[in-house]
Symmetry: D2
Subunit: 294 residues, 4 copies
């Protein structure tokens, strides 16, 4: 991996400038090299100031988001699709302006428990919207990655294979997949095999436990996952994500169904996660080197 | 295990009398000993006729359901709670009248992606409602089991430990847990350990794959799960559940987020599931016998 | 896989012509397509008659063996090496004469618990001997595969990576590896990854449980193993192997350390193994097809 | 666990007083609280000096050994059995004299690749010898634990269930089992289940990888193993063991079949092992606490 990062929601609900800056300080203090923010509204935050803090702390910034239904590019309503394209375009520019390196998340549909089946027409609208956004992102020097998430958070791209087909259809070489162990645990047949299947098309990787709590206190087989990342020579970023009712705001808790405290001390959680990922990654590298050595 | 069954949604959307009867025939033809129905409205179906078919086919009937928000016993609105209690009471009686053996599912709250946190008051209402329902069920000769489901389908009982505490609070010896491997894979720290923790408090057990498709084509570690069931001497029923967009109706697909076809041939799926469960259960029994034999 | 077979030691100690013929009948009756024999001394058995029975039963014959210390081609004593080369040459011809398709096992050293370290000189002798044997085998239309076994049964080739290097050094395109899940469980860092590493260099594959008993009653992760075989498109043979003190002769039991009965009914064991391998292989194929399908 | 220790063969071949003292210094420097020695001949070493160093370094001493064939208490030859009993008695006293806390290993038979089946008579001799030794150990304030090892290192006790039956037959409350993950990986049906089966009868626990190399670079499922130890409330010692051709002497390498270097830097190995065990143990404790918390 290139750099190891952490999602800002471990630290803050993201509601205030102060909260975001505090999250950056803590992320850097724990030794992370990336902070991931949810979509930052330029009218609400002093982005210039955030960018400056990030540079000072040697933190890369990644922004992830999910579309609202009112700007769902997988809609059949072209007005809604246009609103989504505009929002994506603005988001790319905001990432560029803040000095961020990457835009990810559920960019191809709304982030919601859908109450309708996906449609072929909506899918085409989404492919076209992402293709356009990819051009803008490429010109802006911002990477574009699509997060594959579970069925309760989108209806369009739930599996790596669906994501790979979608990326192909965009015809763009600037779109990659954003995989996440929490979601893969619900949807994939064999998460490690999906990582090998996707190979170089993986542009970003989220590490989260099956119940969104402490790494290791769930069912995700991280050893096999890190083995797969080492086997494909994954050289991009990995970011840790965890949600607990103890810290983040109610809006996020509702969206992600966070009804209980999987932890209360976010600093202990973050330090554990960093150690967990680094140690197990190193062990995966030792396994790979050892098994191939006569 | 006592008997192995199958959920009727593998066969039918449950919309017509004919569909339900057909589901019974096919379940019996595949060798299952139980059919699980979703809540059967007495005004819509000829329950007597269903009961007669079940007896003729030597099929036990289990009914499972989730409450609607309008009859959510975990509400803070006492009118809604009363509606829920009435609905549960009616459901118990319908199960009794159809000759069913057990009522299960999300009986303690609505079956929905909640948009609010659970409350202490609502929880107490739910405990009281289930305690009352347990009395009615006991008198009716109907077992009562509470299904522990993932965060996207209820906000109240997501883990076995939560379920055990809830059962204790009802003060009833007639309430047991209804565990399900699909849900456990999302919420539990260690599903097999939770089975050992719950022990005799498990009253019913659903076998479903992590992505709701073919058994074995997901991440659930069924071998460890069957080992745990054998280790605790589980002697109650096991029922197979799988959903695909190929067969069931749109309403259910929307509720459970079934956006893709995990299978198209339900008979092949059902026969595979029966063989899968029986073989792996037998292997778990052999493991247990072998490891304890000097 | 091409064909599924069984080792004759499940049925017989291999001491008599009658025992071997009986093993063939039983293997065919259980539906296996290959029988594996230990080295057959031409002076002791009526090979022509065995070959005829095999053809009649549509059974392919594979012969596996380990060298004795007196004919150890990894010795530093050239006389001993020459004896080994002669023994290997005779074995290839015996396989050809019996209509067999393949010679495997510990052909590159003695089959013993060594009491000395391997030496560079002995290793070179072994490479040369196998290269020569490969030429003879190629001319004879007999496949040649080297079994990688655990440290207690040879000191030379314990891991797949060692085997791959050895095969490269022979310079022959007629030598492949014979992997075995029992041995891999002791020596490999990650058995499934070793299968992917070896890829097309795998010429033969033994399925055995970690304690040599019933498949599934040990720690081998067969699901991951079959996934790896499917992932590399393995199209050669798989043979089941199990030893119990209940059936085979004392000599073999001593050589392999079989001190207890892991089973007593060999027919039940064989039928279980066939079903186990076929079902799990089919499940691995379903996993592969499903995970790659958008 | 009470204390975490390390086997002296990670550091030294045990041939000299200086080597043993150096091993103690290094063990303590890495933070271990126990050092395990192979049988220490009183005539060869200055035991008093070793005991003093251990006290100064706050290191507990455990001694493990395997009997030679000439003193095999599982022999049918009573002279050999008597020699074994005398050797065991001397060993207990040597442990006492050095201030050690425990005698373990293959005390009930020879440590060898046997060339004969175990016999009922020999087994009885062994049970009686261990019962006598237990009395002496009890009087000496030395714990007595029997190591269950794989088939290539003894023919008598290869599984936990065999060990439990053997302990029962001794009639002593002073004999417990010494389990080892390396050996369990070869012999047990389900190592974690065996730990739960043995429960309080486990007196000592060896952590070793399946190929005796770096922890995590093999197939042992340590997470499940630590879960089992936490589940039974294991409160005794855990000791790390690893062998590589790089460091230890040829005699040991031959006995254990160590033909390759699984590591070369023993200090890196030891520090990794300590961290690995402590972190994974802590994670197992978190799992247990979390899964049981409503």
């Amino acid at each position: 991996m290139r750099r190891l990062g952490i999602h800002s929601f471990v630290w803050t609900d993201g509601g205030t400038q102060e909260g975001l800056e505090d999250a950056m300080e803590k992320s850097a203090a724990c030794g992370f090299g990336i902070i991931e923010f949810a979509y930052l509204r330029p009218e609400k935050f002093d982005l210039e100031r955030l960018a400056k803090r990030a540079r000072a702390l040697d933190l890369d910034i990644v922004v992830t988001m999910g579309l609202p239904l009112s700007a769902d590019v997988s809609s059949e309503d072209l007005g809604v699709v246009r609103a989504g394209e505009a929002l994506l375009s603005d988001a790319v520019k905001a990432v560029r302006d803040i000095g961020g390196i990457r835009l990810g998340g559920i960019l191809y549909s709304a982030h919601t428990k859908y109450a309708r089946m996906p449609t072929e027409c909506g899918r085409k609208n989404s492919v076209a919207a992402i293709a356009k956004t990819a051009d803008i992102a490429k010109q802006s020097g911002v990477e574009l990655v699509l997060e594959i998430v579970n069925r309760f958070e989108t209806n369009l791209l739930n599996t790596t294979a669906q994501g790979l087909a979608f990326v192909r259809e965009t015809g763009s070489d600037h779109v990659r997949l954003h995989l996440d162990t929490f979601h893969m645990n619900i949807e994939e047949v064999d998460p490690a095999a999906s990582v090998r299947l996707a190979g170089d098309k993986i542009g970003y990787f989220h590490i989260g436990e099956s119940n969104r709590g402490y790494l290791g206190a769930g069912v995700v087989d991280f050893d096999r996952m890190f083995d797969a990342l080492v086997e494909i020579g994954y050289a991009r970023d990995i970011v840790f994500e965890s949600f607990s009712n103890a810290v983040v705001d109610e809006a996020l808790s509702l969206a992600c169904g966070i009804w209980r405290d999987t932890w209360t001390d976010n600093e202990a959680l973050a330090r554990h996660a960093k150690r967990f990922i680094e140690i197990r990654y190193e062990e995966a590298q030792r396994r790979r080197a050892t098994l191939a050595r006569p």
